[in-house]
């Protein structure tokens, strides 16, 4: 299921999916990170389309993912928001967009990632949930509500990808 290049045009047309999710306007270069966050390996057997560094009016360049047979949950959308803050989520049913959801980064985030400061109380005490205020939205940067230290965009991605 490779994208088809229409003759005489530099545009790529990407095949439609029947039921599932289209994640559009992912920051260029982050599609594989989004897949990893969602735990999608491509070995699930469902149609999976990934396009990277495509032309975009809104973002200059963007990535796009189409996932057959899976509708994302709110929790999954929140996780993606930290990596791809400008993404749009289209839930597809019977080849049509059932509803569209623009990712909106909340002012405050609880859980999802840990504070990058190893001596923060949230990394050492049982029964406490990490909590952040969003200090920058694109790329996302978080300030811990407890220790006030910054967790950078790269640290967020490393955590979501299981690297730290």
């Amino acid at each position: 299921m490779t994208p088809k290049a229409s003759e005489g045009s530099r545009e790529l047309s990407v095949q439609k999916i029947k039921d599932g999710t289209v994640i559009d306007h992912i920051s260029a270069g982050y599609a594989l990170a989004v897949l990893q966050i969602l735990g999608i390996t491509g070995r699930e057997g469902d149609i999976l389309l990934v396009a990277m560094n495509m032309h975009s009016k809104r973002l200059d360049k963007k990535d796009l993912i189409k996932i057959e047979g899976r509708e994302l949950t709110t929790e999954e959308i929140n996780r993606i928001a930290l990596v791809a803050p400008k993404a749009t989520i289209n839930i597809i049913r019977s080849f049509k967009v059932h509803h569209k959801q623009r990712i909106k980064i909340p002012d405050e985030i609880e859980g999802i990632v840990n504070c990058a400061n190893p001596s923060c109380i949230t990394n050492n005490e049982r029964g406490i949930t990490s909590s952040f205020t969003v200090t920058q939205r694109n790329p996302v940067t978080l300030r811990c509500t407890y220790c006030k230290q910054i967790t950078s965009h790269n640290q967020i991605i490393d955590q979501l990808l299981g690297k730290s």
């Binding site: 923060c120 005490e125 811990c144 407890y146 220790c147 006030k148 230290q149």
Partner: protein, 310 residues
Amino acid sequence: MTFNVKNIISIADLADKDILTILDRADKMERLARGGKQSRLLEGRILATLFYEPSTRTRLSFESAMLRLGGSTVSVAQVGSSSVAKGESLADTIRTVESYSDIIVLRHPQEGAAQWAAEVASVPIINAGDGAGRHPTQTLLDLATIRKSQGKLEGLNVAVLGDLRFGRTVHSLSYAITRFTDKLYCVAPEGLELPPEIVMDLQGQDKEVIQTGDLQGILPNLDVLYVTRIQKERFPSPADYERVRGQYVIDLSLLEHAKPTLDILHPLPRVDEIAPAVDKTPHARYFTQVFNGLVVRMAVLDLLMEAQKA
């Protein structure tokens, strides 16, 4: 003025008017702090001090403050030998200790611990230092010392000197004093400068941050010089430490360039960054700071208890 503060966790949580209310109340506590007539302001109230890290001055100062106000204190002699050593969480310890007390002073090695304690406690929490994080009563006593000596906080030329990178007292003071002044002089050895995020924060609030190595050059302008210890362990080699150490010793010959009204503060303990001969000059305020630590903590205890009653 109403004081609607429930906990003292960070100086950043306090509005300017709250800081000034604390300093005003501290002024009124001076007579009581010197002893003589026993106050009954906090009679029947119990302060618990819960120190997970060693401290001499801060702990004694809080306990003395409570006793001067007629209250009582309880403390865990060694946190290491308590339930904590058996793996009890901070939240559980706080819930237990609050049953025995009306207010808790906490020092903890982890950043953000005091805020977490405040979330689980029903009694007021005072942060007496959380890791490399915050130590708000130290900053309040620094401000009290400056205001008492200079008669004001506004418009002063303040310099911070020494280890500006790791010193939590300096970070907190830098934010606090620039609420009242337009600029801050910073003098630090290479590698120990004020962290760039603090410089950016201050510049974002339209404050001028003047970073210089020329202490003698700026000294004639200064009203306040806040000196901190440069720790040997911050340097890659003893030779590097020795090279830097000598550059920033405050002695009588240096002070010939200073205003007669210059105040020198130091959070103590000092090593040799201020020559003992300076102690006898009118510039030396570091022992006054110790006394102000007591009156400020009396003020904080009194105001928090008062706010809880309201």
